[in-house]
Every structure is written in structure tokens, then in C-alpha cells.
């Protein structure tokens, strides 16, 4: 955090819900009376490309892009993507990694391979990184689609935003009929 702005970088693969998560976080910041800006490049939802969403909130936010190495929190929806963006983490920043692996078809060329030692490299570079199996938790709760909300719950612990406001936003933005189960998922993630 520099000049009072909290920087959250959410990364993952197109289709995982990175942008929806950053929408929800931004809405929480807005409802908390903060200035907020977010920025990302669209279009990857079905195409399996890299998605990075910058969310910045505080008294007054200028640039919508987090300066290099100033991400207070990095939330990685996917393992290799968490490794790809690890250098953006600020001194003392929090790294939260979902252990899910999505292997891209470019590995078919034989020229590239998915990093087999990604978790080790993450832990070696950021010893305090939290690696969680959000799909495992979602399965426990009975629905793999709850991964995003679980991760947001986990993320919420690292941010100075009111739980009440989080729950308001989860309820409002959850797909029809899923408000209750998403609330449970959020609180479960927050409790881990």
C-alpha cells in the first residue's frame, strides 16, 4: 500500500471467474465509501487465455493499473498463473493461491510444459503464501461452482473491508437462487 491505496491483483485463466470476482471486490469497496478503480483486458472467457484484473481502492485512486511490485494481495485462481505474476507482490504482501491446474493446449506442441514444481517455486519465493484447494472445499459443500466465492471469502481476511458489506454484495450479485449457498461458501472460505 502506497499513498493509502490498497492494490489487489486477481489472476487466472479465462473462464474461471476472475473478472466477476474483481467486480464483486470493487463493489464492496464502493459500498464502503472508498474510491475504487479496476482494470483488465477482456475477451478470454472462453478462449482460455491469461486474465489479470487490477483492483485499487482507497481515499483517491489515480492510475487504474497497479504499479510493478506493489500488489498488496495477489489472489491466484490457478496455479501456473499465480507463479507467472508472483513478481508483482509487494514487500510483505499476501499471496493466496488456488491449487487448480489448467494445462493449456500449447503443451501439445511439445515445446512447452506445465511447471511441475509450481507449488515448490511459489513457497520458496513467498514462504508465507497460502495454497488452498478451493475445488476440494467446494466439493465438500456440494457444488464445484462455489470455488470463486470460497476464494473471495479467503481473500476477505487479508483486506480491511467489513464482512457485512461483503455479504451484502455476495447476496446481490449471486446468480438467482444461489444467494444462500454462496453466503455459506464465502463464510467457509473466510473461516479457513
Amino acid at each position: 500500500m502506497r499513498n493509502g491505496t490498497t492494490n489487489v491483483l486477481i489472476v487466472g485463466v479465462g473462464g474461471q471467474g476472475v473478472i466477476l470476482a474483481s467486480e464483486m471486490l470493487s463493489e464492496v469497496a464502493l459500498r464502503s465509501g472508498l474510491d475504487v478503480k479496476k482494470s483488465e483486458v477482456h475477451g478470454m472467457s472462453q478462449r482460455g487465455g491469461v486474465v489479470t484484473s487490477h483492483v485499487r481502492f482507497g481515499t483517491k485512486v489515480d492510475s487504474p493499473l497497479i504499479p510493478g511490485g506493489e500488489a498488496d494481495v495477489i489472489l491466484g485462481f490457478e496455479l501456473a498463473e499465480s507463479l507467472r505474476w508472483i513478481h508483482e507482490l509487494a514487500e510483505g504482501g499476501q499471496l493466496i493461491v488456488n491449487s487448480q491446474r489448467l494445462v493449456p493446449p500449447i503443451t501439445a506442441t511439445g515445446k512447452f510444459s506445465y511447471p511441475a514444481d509450481a507449488t515448490r517455486r511459489i513457497k520458496s519465493r513467498v514462504p508465507k503464501a497460502k495454497v488452498i484447494d478451493a475445488i476440494g472445499i467446494a466439493t465438500e459443500l456440494g457444488n464445484p461452482k462455489l470455488v470463486n466465492t470460497i476464494l473471495l471469502g479467503f481473500l476477505s481476511k487479508s483486506l480491511d473491508l467489513d464482512e457485512k458489506v461483503w455479504l451484502e454484495v455476495i447476496e446481490k450479485m449471486a446468480p438467482k437462487g444461489t444467494a444462500e449457498i454462496n453466503r455459506t461458501a464465502f463464510l467457509e472460505g473466510r473461516s479457513r
Partner: protein, 593 residues
């Protein structure tokens, strides 16, 4: 009331709030959401349409403006190239009701063929260019633009960039107000640009520019934030935000009107600071004009014209200029990134274009390509596209290579339905007229897919959701003089490959059109998934080479340790392409047990 809106959403809201009545566009990142938002939320008050291309979008907006309706035409930066023909004479005729050309530029080419700086069009066409620096301004400047357009009888460019269009920020929204305008009236000296009239209008344009310069000096669009006087920064658009964050104590002259410049204001500002810098993305557009006015200024020397700016680059520039010292960077700013495999976007599971790519691979041809989802076929492992220049160029490229006569290997053109309607029809007509014998492939997935699934004149639906006439591509190609028009199923590799081979061999122009829709838009299409029988799979890798994201290496290997294949049943759409390329017959429908 406050909302979190993207620049595009805010601009759309601005069109509604400031009495806009007509909006036309062709989809193009990062501009697409402007018309989508108008069509979704404001269609009761603002007519919104997809035009067949940007030239038409601007021409119809001009018509609406001449006819008394406040109008906008929105497009990405390269779209303005297509609209440049009407633009360059429109500046002479002036407008009826206010007319805004929205240009959404793409510094860093996140999804484009180039990163051209469309502020240059403002100078070229002698029209004002407004540059919002956040979402609130993206909305407010619509009102300013309509007013300037009507007051000075000029089209106005409202210029965004990706980081304005696709960043969200807090916007205060308001009520709609409208301005009364009469309909079209005869005025041939203004509207008919024959040389006798146009000569007089050019004089009007020159004189109008002088009045706009005076306006710029006093306009609230340009503001000065006085602070320390060691450094003064002239900046605008998103660069303003980066500069402000980098040097919060510097004095800043923020340009909301990027052209024409308030040169007297700038000269006065320059005289009150020790060093004057320009922080702008891409071209030294402000800098060169300021230097030409004899004002000492520094800019491109420290802030390159290559790629988008951000706080890091602005900081680096000021460190190099001796304004900041190296401690200004976070200790982690230069941290080494980890080496991780690339993850380029790929064709979706079940995309019909994949079938055509495999058939093209089988036919062993050069493929001149075009702009759309099928462009992703250029990437490995498909690697099937050899050229991609601009909308519609594929057809001309194949024709030109054919006529150059020096290429042994056959060349075919590959173009999508929306692209073909946009600017392929004229190319095909020209090629047939000039006696081509080549083969031209239209991959018709019946939607403008790459930009998120918009309608076009071939889909039989308007932006506002009404049913309408659809162009018949087969009849169209025949009418252009192509006798051999074939329709193939791109999910049938053998049929498609045979069609390609036959038409390539034919000494007459041919068109091959595919007939499978996009499996995402307008609605998701999924058939029963397929699966790999690992007992039969030999791990040859043929299915990996179709580049489908549902196929990956399983943990099982063959006797040589090579991984066998597996298919994700939750994403497989059952298109059967992988089953068709499998030499071992190891892929078939997933059995329910």
C-alpha cells in the same frame, strides 16, 4: 447516485443523458460495449444499430445528424481508417445536430493489428478531439462534445483508450436532457461537396479552427493544478492518471481537449515552471505542436512512443530525467518474473473453425487470413494462417499472390462471415472481375464472434433484438460471378478436405462456405461428449495437435513413456474432430457407464 462504470458504459450513459438519439457502430475492441450498453439500457430513447462496417456507421450517423438527431458513430482505432473517407469531407460540410465520432484506441495492441494514435486524425481533419481521463469524464465529455459540435458546426472526435474503455471507476449519473432540432433542410453549399462548394467550405474549416483555438484557451476542459514549480507536466487521457500518481507534487496542465491545443495557456504554464514535460502515450502529438510554438519541452526522450504507459514507465522516465531518484521505485518493482509457459487464447472446444484449419492442413496450402476468431488458427499447434493485415484483406492477398504468379504452393483465402460483409464483398467482386481462378473460403459461423457475439446483416437479428432480413452468402457470391459456390460441414474433415482439393485444382474462381454456427453465440451448443479409450490410444499425439482445450495429456503412458490423451467431459462439446484425426480409432462417444 453513484455507480461503478467502465469508460464504455459511462460514455453510453452520456449519450443517453445528453440527448443522443442515434448510435451506430461496428464491433471492435475496446469499443464494443458502447453500443451494447446503449442497446441494452437506453433503446427506448436512443436508436442503436450495428452497421456493416465503420464507413457506413459514420455515414448513417452523419445522415442522422443532418436530419436533426444528435448522433454518435463508435469504433476502434483502425475502424476510423475505414471511416476516414466520410470523415475527411464531413469536416467540410459540418453537421446538423451534434455528431460525435468515438475512437477507442488500443495502445499496447491488446487486441489489434497496430497501436496507431488517432489524435492525429484530429489534426488531419481539423476537428476537435476530446480525451476523457476516467469514466466520469467519459460520460461528461459526451455533453461537451455535442455542444462543441453544434456551436462550431463541426464533427467532434471523442477519443478513448483501452485503459479508459475497460477500466471501471465511480460515476455520478444524472437525468436525460434533450435539445430540439429540425429535420433535414436543403443547403447545397454546405452539403454538396463539388469543388465549387468545397473550396468555400475549406475556408470555413480554416477559420473555424482559429475560433476553436480561442475556445480552447478558455475551456473548462483544460485545467491547471498548481503545485511545486520545479516540474510542469502537460498531459491528458489515461497518461494524466499515471503522471499524477508518479509526481503528486508537480504542477499539471491537464488537457481534456487534446486538439486544438490552448497554446497561450501552455506558454504561460511553461513560463511558470522550471522544466516542462509532456507525458503522453504513443505519438509526440502534444509535444511536437508545443515545440513548434517555440516552447522548450521534453517528452518522448523519456516516455517512449512504444506501447501503453503506466506508473512504472512514467517513473522510469522521470528518474532518467533526473526529476526522481531511483528510490522512487518500490524495492520490488524490478523483481524478476518467473519463467512460465505461455498461455495464448485458443479456439473454443467445438469451434467449427478448428475443422477448417485441419482440412487446410491436409490440403497443404498457404492461407491468407483475416480478422476474427479464426485468426487464432495462426497460433501453434494449428499454425495455419500466413497473412493477416486488416479487415477484408485476405481476399485481395490471395488474388495478388495468384497474379504475381511466382508461388508454387496453392494459396487460398480465409475470411469470416462478418468480415466478409464488412469489406470482403468488394474484394471478391474485384477479384472475379479481374479473372481470378483462386479459392476463397468463408467460414460462416453466423455471428460476429471474436468481439463477444454481435449480430450483423447475415444473422437476421438487429442489435435491438428485432427480426430482419439476412444476406444470403451463397446467392451473393453467385451474383458476383462465382459459378462454383460450395457449402461444407467443417465438422466433417474428409468432406471439407475433398472440397478444398477439388476447388483448388479447378481453373475457375471458387467459394467454399462452412455451415456450422458458433457454439457459444447466440446460444451455447453442446452435444454428448467424447472420450479416449486409453486401452486403444497409442499416444501418437495427433489429437493434441488439433489444439482443443478439452484434450490434455493423461497420466497413462504408452510403452515408450509418451502420454496418452484424455478428454474433459465437462467441456467437450462432441464435435468429433479429434475422433476423426485419431489414426487408432481410440476416440468415441463417452459411454454412460
Amino acid at each position: 447516485m453513484e455507480m461503478l462504470l467502465s469508460g464504455n458504459e459511462a460514455l453510453a450513459r452520456g449519450v443517453y443523458e445528453y440527448g443522443g438519439e442515434f448510435a451506430s457502430a461496428y464491433p471492435g475492441t475496446p469499443s464494443t460495449e458502447i453500443l451494447q450498453t446503449i442497446g441494452r439500457f437506453f433503446k427506448d430513447d436512443v436508436y442503436a444499430e450495428w452497421a456493416i462496417n465503420e464507413k457506413v456507421a459514420l455515414e448513417v450517423a452523419v445522415g442522422a445528424s443532418y436530419g436533426g438527431a444528435r448522433a454518435i458513430a463508435a469504433m476502434k482505432h483502425v475502424g476510423v481508417n475505414v471511416a476516414a473517407d466520410p470523415l475527411m469531407s464531413l469536416t467540410y460540410t459540418g453537421v446538423g445536430a451534434g455528431l460525435i465520432l468515438v475512437s477507442a484506441d488500443d495502445p499496447s495492441l491488446h487486441s489489434s493489428q497496430n497501436e496507431q494514435d488517432n489524435r492525429c486524425y484530429g489534426k488531419f481533419a481539423s476537428i476537435p478531439v476530446l480525451e476523457p481521463s476516467d469514466s466520469q469524464e467519459a460520460k461528461d465529455f459526451v455533453g461537451a462534445a455535442f455542444e462543441i459540435s453544434e456551436r462550431f458546426d463541426t464533427p467532434v472526435m471523442l477519443r478513448l483508450t483501452t485503459r479508459i474503455s475497460h477500466s471501471k471507476g465511480i460515476v455520478t449519473i444524472g437525468e436525460r436532457t434533450t435539445v430540439e432540432h429540425g429535420g433535414f433542410e436543403r443547403n447545397i453549399e454546405k452539403y454538396v461537396m463539388v469543388p465549387a462548394h468545397a473550396t468555400k467550405r475549406h475556408k470555413v474549416v480554416i477559420e473555424r479552427l482559429e475560433r476553436l483555438k480561442e475556445f480552447a484557451e478558455e475551456s473548462y476542459l483544460n485545467t491547471i493544478e498548481w503545485n511545486e514549480r520545479k516540474v510542469g507536466i502537460v498531459t491528458g487521457s489515461i497518461a494524466y492518471q499515471h503522471a499524477k500518481e508518479t509526481l503528486p507534487t508537480a504542477s499539471i496542465l491537464k488537457l481534456g481537449l487534446g486538439y486544438p491545443l490552448p497554446m497561450k495557456k501552455i506558454a504561460d504554464f511553461a513560463s511558470k515552471v522550471d522544466r516542462l514535460f509532456v507525458v503522453e502515450e504513443l505519438e509526440p502529438f502534444y509535444e511536437e505542436q508545443i515545440a513548434a510554438a517555440g516552447i522548450a519541452v521534453e517528452g518522448k526522450k523519456y516516455f517512449s512512443n512504444y506501447l501503453e504507459l503506466n506508473v512504472d514507465r512514467v517513473r522510469e522516465g522521470f528518474i532518467e530525467a533526473g526529476v526522481l531518484d531511483a528510490s522512487a521505485k518500490a524495492s520490488t518493482a524490478a523483481a524478476e518474473p518467473e519463467e512460465v509457459l505461455p498461455r495464448p487464447p485458443v479456439l473454443c472446444s467445438g469451434c467449427p473453425h478448428r475443422g477448417m484449419m485441419i482440412a487446410l492442413r491436409n490440403a497443404k496450402v498457404f492461407t491468407t487470413g483475416d480478422i476474427g476468431c479464426y485468426t487464432l488458427g495462426a497460433l501453434p499447434p494449428l499454425s495455419q494462417i500466413d497473412t493477416c493485415l486488416c479487415m477484408g484483406a485476405s481476399i485481395g492477398h490471395t488474388f495478388g499472390i495468384e497474379k504475381a504468379g511466382k508461388t508454387e504452393k496453392p494459396v487460398v483465402a480465409l475470411i469470416g462471415d462478418s468480415t466478409f460483409l464488412h469489406s470482403g464483398i468488394t474484394s471478391l467482386a474485384s477479384a472475379v472481375y479481374n479473372k481470378t481462378t483462386s479459392t476463397y473460403i468463408i467460414v460462416d459461423n453466423r455471428i460476429t464472434a471474436m468481439t463477444g457475439g454481435q449480430d450483423h446483416p447475415g444473422t437476421s437479428r438487429t442489435l435491438m433484438g428485432e427480426k430482419t432480413h439476412a444476406v444470403d452468402l451463397v446467392q451473393l457470391c453467385k451474383a458476383l460471378g462465382v459459378e462454383h459456390v460450395r457449402v461444407v460441414d467443417p465438422y466433417d474433415i474428409e468432406e471439407t478436405t475433398n472440397a478444398l482439393r477439388e476447388e483448388i485444382a479447378r481453373e475457375a474462381p471458387s467459394v467454399i462456405i462452412t455451415n456450422r454456427p458458433c457454439m457459444l453465440f447466440p446460444k451455447k451448443i453442446r452435444q454428448a461428449p467424447y472420450a479416449v479409450d486409453t486401452a486403444v490410444c497409442t499416444a501418437c499425439g495427433a489429437c493434441f495437435r488439433v489444439g482443443c482445450p478439452s484434450i490434455s495429456a493423461s497420466d497413462e503412458t504408452n510403452e515408450k513413456g509418451r502420454p496418452k490423451a484424455q478428454i474433459d467431459p465437462t467441456t467437450c462439446t462432441g464435435c468429433t474432430i479429434c475422433a476423426q484425426v485419431c489414426p487408432a480409432d481410440a476416440i468415441g462417444p463417452l459411454s454412460s457407464e
